[in-house]
């Protein structure tokens, strides 16, 4: 019985995704079953479509920036949170969760209003900033849960032995929290790479890959989109799983 449930749940989760993957290899322009002829043609088309490639490039510029900004700011914030005890700390942690809980559409709209009232021109920086808000939230929480078990005496002994704060950070803290740092980077990267709604609001004429895909969908699903979606899926899935693995790595090593 349990097995049946498990199968159903996995089917529910993965059949839509599998559908995209399967159709991306189908010869036919229209999504029809069963698929009679298989092809890699759509991948070739997708990867030579300059507009798609441009969108992909944008995403690949934005996502690592978001990953890096998020993980770095998250690390600094998490360190302060982890080593200080103060009243209202629980509240701060809760507020940090905020961006992850607010509906994206509301957040995107708010950001659009904010940017336009401040006359921030729409550009990829808008997306970088917008995605970093989520990324920092996520990264701070990931790194906080690592840093609460980090022994402050390690940093103190580094200082005691002559390491200035920056040196102690790179020699001692970063290597020790690197798995969590990498997890924060990868998950923020993935978050940005996949994200559509907020990007759509703030990005203007530049388009990220999800925005481009969405734009094309209005003219119908093409196998080319299935192909690019499959690529995105694999990238996100790989990074996401890797990030999760790193985030849940043994925390008892320092």
């Amino acid at each position: 019985m349990l097995r049946v449930y498990a199968v159903l749940i996995f089917a529910f989760l993965y059949v839509p995704i599998l559908t995209i993957i399967v159709f991306s290899f189908g010869e036919s322009v229209y999504p029809t079953l069963p698929i009679t002829d298989w092809t890699l043609e759509w991948y070739r088309t997708a990867l030579t479509d300059s507009q798609l490639l441009e969108a992909l490039t944008k995403s690949l510029i934005i996502a690592p920036l978001v990953g890096f900004i998020s993980a770095t700011v998250g690390l600094l914030a998490a360190r302060e949170l982890a080593r200080r005890e103060f009243r209202g700390k629980g509240l701060v942690l809760l507020v940090l969760l905020g961006p992850l809980l607010v509906p994206l559409i509301v957040f995107g709209l708010g950001l659009l209003l904010l940017f336009s009232s401040l006359d921030v021109p729409s550009s990829i920086w808008g997306a970088v900033i917008a995605h970093s808000v989520f990324g920092i939230s996520l990264s701070t929480l990931i790194l906080y849960s690592r840093l609460i078990s980090f022994r402050e005496s390690l940093m103190e002994s580094a200082a005691d032995l002559g390491a200035a704060p920056a040196r102690a950070f790179f020699e001692v803290m970063l290597p020790l929290v690197f798995p969590a740092f990498a997890a924060a980077f990868l998950l923020s990267f993935t978050l940005s790479f996949d994200e559509f709604i907020v990007a759509w609001f703030v990005i203007g004429f530049d388009t990220t890959l999800p925005v481009e895909i969405w734009g094309r969908l209005r003219y119908g699903i093409t196998p080319e989109i299935n192909a690019i979606a499959t690529v995105v899926l694999l990238v996100s899935l790989t990074l996401g799983v890797l990030g999760q693995k790193l985030a849940s790595q043994r925390k008892d090593e320092s």
Partner: protein, 365 residues
Amino acid sequence: MSQERQPAGVSLIDVTRRFGDVEAVKNVSFDIEAGEFVSLLGPSGCGKTTTLRMIAGFEYPDEGDITLDGKSIVATPPYRRDTSMVFQDYALFPHRSVAQNLAFGLRMRKIPKDEIRAKIETMLELVELPGLGDRKPDQLSGGQQQRVALGRALIVDPAVLLLDEPLGALDLQLRKQMQLELKRIHREIGITFIYVTHDQEEAITMSDRIAVMNQGSVEQIGPATEIYARPETAFVAEFIGDANVLLATVVAVGEKPTVTFAADTLTMEVARPARTFSERDVVSAVVRPENVSIGPDADSFDNVYDMEVSEVIFAGSYVRIHGLIGGSPLWLTTTVSDASRSNQVGSRVRVGWDAGDVVLVEWKS
């Protein structure tokens, strides 16, 4: 080691450190001489670690000054202080090998690689860990980790070594062994050691001088023998060694100072107290249990009383006898043979001690 560091003296001048409402360290002043081995001794929470951390630079004094070699260091960050610390949890870098841990401080000082290698070898010898340079800290026993922590702190030739209960995590046997070894190392390299412990025996075994701390203050500083013989407060008397602390009232000063005790029913002669008291002052009279004689011999002492024995406890090499004199509790220690001659529970015996064995200190309830 190539350029031997001159040991440096450390002084605290009216140092106070608060955490919110807690005064962790209150108005502490002392001078530690270059090359001395001084222990900060006191119960948990009395401010030992905070004092040590202020010398290392991890805490700052809210008031007062700290000097190293006569020069104020409170504005110097820890990474530029000429002090080295052995942390209570050792704080070894878990991602680095023993050799890399030892090399850390030398790398920060930009010492050439081959010199670092040579120093590591010498240090591994000194702390008796030859051949273990490639191990990671988690592949070592607690005692070995302790030695690495010690070596890592010493290898940079500090002027002062600070140790925060470094043996606290070790079992008794190993602790005794390490105490002797730390003494040896102190003798060999001759730098100033400031050693935090809550274990009076450890402090007595190792230190040239002991600073006894209580509730953020240093109550007395001096050699163990002096602190033991001449405690300046009731707390010190009870913390170092064993003591009967009797509530007493001064009734005569001058040539033959005298106090009354046991609700003023008994009188006791005392030697001239270290500090001056006046008549009718309420004081603590400290009498060490091993200075109390029991049985017929007791009659030859300055102060002689009848004691009702309430408990006789065999404690291995000696016997503890508890009883009441004039309704006031008193205990003493005696040899097993002496004890067997006298004293059954409920019997009355003579006890006595010399005026010179009584120390008067201010009353503290």
